[in-house]
Symmetry: C2
Subunit: 359 residues, 2 copies
């Protein structure tokens, strides 16, 4: 890194709380769940940065409704580092906001990593090595440095990045030019990607110099470049908040992949393997939870009789399951979910139906 | 009926609350449930007697823990008519107790019907006709008059009574001699019983003169005959209660079928059809509940998406069910059951497991 630059970490912590309902709710989305490892995913995301980024340079961009819980969960962060989005405008707006805040504090040569709050990493030291190397690469160049993940199975649930020639920048981590960002593939395509060795998972984490991101925003989403500049010019956290309250409702709802990454030609990709997973839905959650001899996950006051391949969790009532298989059963004091594992991707539809009934 | 005799109704209202867990609990067994018709089954059992037996002659024999709830649910009954069993000693002890109480009030010629609190009857007028005729038959004879139910399918969940020659006692209801009481049959035997036309279901309801039951107890269960005589000699409800508290713990745990009915030779059987069912378990409960186009029962704040042949009930939390079939899902604020319909007969084992975990 250049001497003059400082390194910031920006954790995007949004989420609608639907995919892990009823444990997650709009007021308590996935990143606040503690079932995956005792500490919340958000807490884990911040803890992974210890010694690498001091708390004063860790920012969290989150929804208005989650600010209070975020502050309570991360008391070591300065209050001004929890940036509140007044409404949901997808990831591009959040990145532009973060870029503006970082520029306001560290100038155009400051480097920032966009990280996520709702993922698990089993090999934290490996993650930290790659992140540090990516920061070095971003500081030295005009490239956006994406932290790809070497795939270990033909996942259809993630986007991929097609990687080209390796680029040696003198770090232990190997980088390569990104050729193309691609959407979630079908199973056949995913197998081809895996076999080729030329594709990595898009984990949604990337590192850049402020000047680099500003240029990319100007090219890909001018409205967001204006937001960025406005935020950068604010002198106080209060000023930033007022700017967001004013401009956010009018911003386009687009993802950073769509606004920037898919169009940019200056993208480097690191491809580490640090046991990354995005804890997507209930059906994949058992990968991160201890199972019994019949491949069940049981947590809380729960009794299982002749149950297999099921996830049975309770944070409140006692739950008895009898003679069932391949189910997800999750109970809180307010709500109960009973779903076939193969159907949890339709949870959103079920919630719409529940809310409709309740209305 | 002889002029001198009065007619009493005794409702046996025990139950451990296991078969409809978690809606039923030890403190709130099946007969208190209101899902089967708005009013509790116990309330329905008493209401069926209106005009036939006045409240002063309706007795309820129940467990100590249920006395308060029973009084609250049946405020029109005199307090002394709720007889409290200090511990569980099966049906023979309850019948002997009831016989003693009735003798104490109405003498040896009083007639009493033993009825149950946890059954449904769809044709109440038919039931009342048969009950009145059974009371007439019992008053005029030294027979125990059992109210059999003409079977309409080859049930394997009930005991049967093999009936012999018809006996005309001048009532609209036809009676016959009982040849033999038989236990719950297997499916093949049940089909044979149904085809023969010579078997009726043993509904656990029977009518007798006090003198008749006293003789039967003396023959079949002498210890219970002593209890009966002791209770009959008590002058006050308090005295009855003290006698029960003293003797109950030492009584044998036997059913009235085993102690009396299977041995007695003086048994008449009526065979009416009054839409009787014993609301046995969750898996048969949907017979008594309204179903939707996919054969689901849904009650409470419940949403179903691609669910079929399931019972989903909640008295508390909202419940969402997704992509499941043949399940019983029952949620209260304290407990949740998720069971395959074909397995609900094992609920007792599941509860043992839950209690074990909780201990």
């Amino acid at each position: 890194m250049r001497k003059s630059s400082s390194f910031y970490a920006v954790i995007l912590s949004g989420g609608s709380g639907e995919r892990f309902w009823p444990l997650s709710t709009p007021e308590r989305p996935k990143q606040f769940l503690t079932v995956f490892g005792g500490k919340s995913l958000l807490r884990q995301a911040v803890d992974r940065l210890k010694g690498l980024v001091p708390p004063e340079r860790v920012l969290v961009v989150t929804g208005k409704a989650l600010v209070k819980a975020t502050r309570a969960g991360l008391p070591e962060l300065p209050r001004a580092n929890i940036v509140s989005e007044p409404c949901r405008r997808d990831t591009a707006a959040a990145v532009a906001t973060a870029c503006g805040v970082v520029e306001g504090r560290g100038g155009e040569d400051a480097v920032a990593a966009i990280l996520t709050a709702d993922q698990v990493m089993r090999d934290v030291p490996a993650f930290r090595r790659v992140l540090a190397d990516a920061a070095r690469a971003a500081a030295r160049s005009d490239d956006i440095v994406t932290m790809g993940v070497a795939p270990d199975y033909p996942a259809t649930g993630f986007g991929y990045i097609h990687v080209g020639k390796p680029v040696d920048i003198g770090t232990k981590t190997v980088f390569a030019r990104a050729i193309r960002f691609v959407e979630k593939p079908d199973a056949k395509t995913a197998r081809r990607y895996l076999a080729s060795g030329r594709y990595v998972w898009n984990a949604g984490m990337f590192v850049w110099r402020v000047a680099t991101m500003k240029a990319a925003l100007l090219k890909g989403a001018p409205a967001l470049a204006i937001l960025e500049a406005t935020v950068a010019s604010c002198r106080t956290a209060r000023g930033v908040q007022q700017a967001l309250d004013t401009y956010y409702p009018q911003l386009p709802k687009i993802s950073i992949d769509y606004a920037v990454m898919e169009k940019a030609t200056n993208i480097l990709v690191s491809s580490g393997a640090f046991g990354w997973d995005d804890v997507g839905t209930w059906s994949s959650a058992d990968k991160h939870l201890a199972t019994d001899a019949r491949r069940n996950v049981a947590k809380g006051e729960v009794a299982l009789l002749d149950v297999s391949d099921s996830i049975v969790l309770s944070t409140g009532p006692q739950v008895g399951a009898l003679g069932v298989a391949n189910l997800v059963v999750v109970a809180t004091k307010d709500s109960v979910l009973v779903a076939d594992k193969s159907r949890v991707q339709d949870l959103k539809k079920l919630l719409a139906k529940l809310n409709q009934n309740g209305a």
